[in-house]
């Protein structure tokens, strides 16, 4: 634009829309493989955090303003809601989008460290989806028991899940997001800055 402008222009909105689409698709493609496997399903947030890093960081680099992460959160939240995911997940997307935007804004969207931090926090969003399993635990247990599963077995199962799968998932997601952001930042430097795209 002719004068530096902090409000979102049509170009920014369209760019955000395009990258949000990619973000959604990468989330689906990388997440679905893991979600489609009962043993690995708890790894889903970790894998998604690993692969969405480059898309997120390029978007922030292309539109270094406050809006994009929030819009990304809203679009992701809406699409997840539309595809029938737990509603708390959608709320988490929007809230974390706002928080991530504020963190990046503190570094005027140029700070590699703050953008990485923003992305890491944003990546924690799917954890909320798994909360359904813990919240809905009682009815689920009853259901499985009515089909003949041993009470003792179930209890230890859910205990294990409660004790370390949840913290494990959070820790794993943070590490994966940091790696994803590291790769994303490297790609930005190696390709997009050199080619003059950002």
């Amino acid at each position: 634009m002719a004068s530096p402008n902090h409000s979102l222009q049509s170009k920014d909105l369209i760019t955000t829309g395009i990258f949000s689409t990619l973000f959604f698709i990468v989330t689906m493609v990388s997440g679905m493989f893991f979600a489609a496997n009962p043993v690995l399903t708890f790894l889903m947030p970790i894998v998604v955090a690993l692969f969405t890093g480059p898309v997120y960081l390029l978007m922030v680099a292309k539109v270094p303003k406050r809006g994009p992460t929030i819009i990304l959160g809203i679009i992701m939240g809406l699409l997840m809601f539309v595809t029938g995911m737990f509603w708390l997940w959608s709320v988490a997307y929007v809230l974390l989008g706002i928080i991530a935007g504020e963190i990046s804004a503190a570094g005027k969207f140029k700070s590699v460290k703050l953008n990485t931090l923003g992305f890491t926090i944003f990546s924690l969003n799917p954890i909320t989806a798994y909360m359904m399993i813990w919240i809905d635990q009682q009815s689920f247990k009853e259901y499985l028991m009515s089909k003949g599963t041993q009470q003792a077995y179930l209890d230890s199962m859910f205990q294990a899940a409660q004790d370390w799968i949840l913290p494990g998932m959070i820790a794993g997601t943070i590490v994966a997001a940091l790696i994803g952001a590291f790769i994303g930042n490297k790609l930005l430097k190696k390709h997009f800055e050199r080619a003059g795209v950002v």
Binding site: I14, T15, G17, I18, L22, N37, V82, T83, G84, F140
Partner: protein, 241 residues
């Protein structure tokens, strides 16, 4: 995706044409229904209602395909509970239940996307007083989604020509490298399309601060009331339980 596109073309021949706002309300109702569901028969009823809606809206192929998948999921849940031992049951059945629960809504979402034009959607969002900064990116998302599949095909072909593996095993062998080969052309192309699409939209007045008009007249008809009503009744019956 192909099937959704075909559906989009045929959608204009469907018996039913709903206002996008009605579709959104149906989607919300369904999502709450899944949350409050009293049990499997209820959810099957809900899936049947969604299938009916899909057929009435003219989305034949997609609706039927999704229904078949749904059928297998239900069968998997029932058979899995009957025949697997404890460990497998917990893992597999948990998972199938999870998928099956979100499935009807995903199916509904697909049907709604297939039957809504971008401009109708934008007009409906404006009527719901959504700000431009949400409406435009969302509209772009609807527009760009099928395009990504086209792009992926180009990239996959190019990688194969270079002897770079695009198979799953190839990915496992060198995940970072493979991801880079996909990301680099994909992201460059996204950045380029964002620029060109913006330029084309700006020269055709997308910056106009006035509320845009829509050639498809939005408005509620008896059909809107009936469809929303059906879903509402089903929701109420869940609350009753």
């Amino acid at each position: 995706m192909e099937s959704i596109l075909v559906a989009r073309e045929r959608s204009r021949q469907g018996l039913l044409r709903l206002d996008p706002r009605t579709k959104l309300s149906i989607l919300f109702t369904s999502n709450i229904m899944v949350l409050l569901s009293p049990g499997l028969p209820y959810e099957i009823l809900m899936a049947a209602l969604i299938l009916l809606l899909g057929l009435l809206c003219g989305v034949y192929r997609y609706s039927i395909k999704m229904t078949i998948v749904y059928f297998f999921l239900v069968a998997g849940q029932i058979l899995g509970t009957l025949y697997f031992d404890d460990v497998l049951r917990v893992f597999l059945v948990t998972f199938v239940v999870f998928l099956r629960k979100i499935f009807p809504c995903a199916m509904l979402g697909g049907i709604l996307i297939a039957t809504t034009r971008v401009n109708e959607f934008m007009a409906a969002m404006h009527k719901l007083r959504m700000p431009r900064s949400i409406v435009i990116p969302l509209a772009v998302t609807l527009r760009y989604f099928p395009g990504v599949i086209e792009e992926w095909r180009h990239i996959r072909d190019s990688m194969n020509l270079r002897g770079l593996s695009t198979s799953f095993w190839g990915f496992l062998k060198s995940p970072i490298k493979t991801a880079e080969y996909v990301y680099v052309p994909m992201l460059f192309s996204a950045a380029k399309i964002a620029d060109e699409l913006s330029a084309a939209a700006v020269t055709r007045g997308i910056d106009n601060p006035k509320i845009r008009t829509c050639v498809q007249q939005l408005g509620f008809t008896a059909a809107d009331g009936l469809c929303a009503g059906c879903f509402m009744v089903l929701l109420m019956s869940a609350l009753w339980n």
